[in-house]
Symmetry: C2
Subunit: 77 residues, 2 copies
């Protein structure tokens, strides 16, 4: 069951997803490899990149660490 | 019921809480005023500042907007 968000919240989640995908591709990582490095599920990473998840700060930090960027760099979009 | 986090996750939540408190005080806002501006509950803001909440990106953006900083500035600690 996917949660529905208001327009501005959905725009935020879409930007986050695109930013993660962009950084992942730049690091030449598959979703699977990123998920393994973060100790998160591959389908979760996929749903985050599609803007379907209201990601928590703890998971944002895990993803930033796996992408070798600081948390604030991950969210500088 | 408070969730317990591992050491590094708890350190992250503590740093976030301190950062929000610091920015709130610099803006001379009470927890109540910040909560009202973000459309969040005052007790929630209090628990975030005490490092008790694994805050989602949507709420992080609400708090950043209410404190007149960009999301990445809020998380630059």
């Amino acid at each position: 069951m996917t949660t529905s968000y208001n327009e501005s919240d959905q725009a935020l989640l879409n930007k986050l997803g695109q930013r993660i995908r962009e950084l992942r591709n730049t690091s030449d990582l598959s979703q699977e490899k990123l998920a393994f490095t973060c100790d998160l599920d591959r389908t979760y990473i996929g749903s985050v990149e599609r803007g379907e998840r209201n990601v928590s700060i703890i998971n944002l930090q895990k993803i930033a660490t796996a992408l070798n960027v600081e948390l604030h760099e991950l969210l500088n979009f």
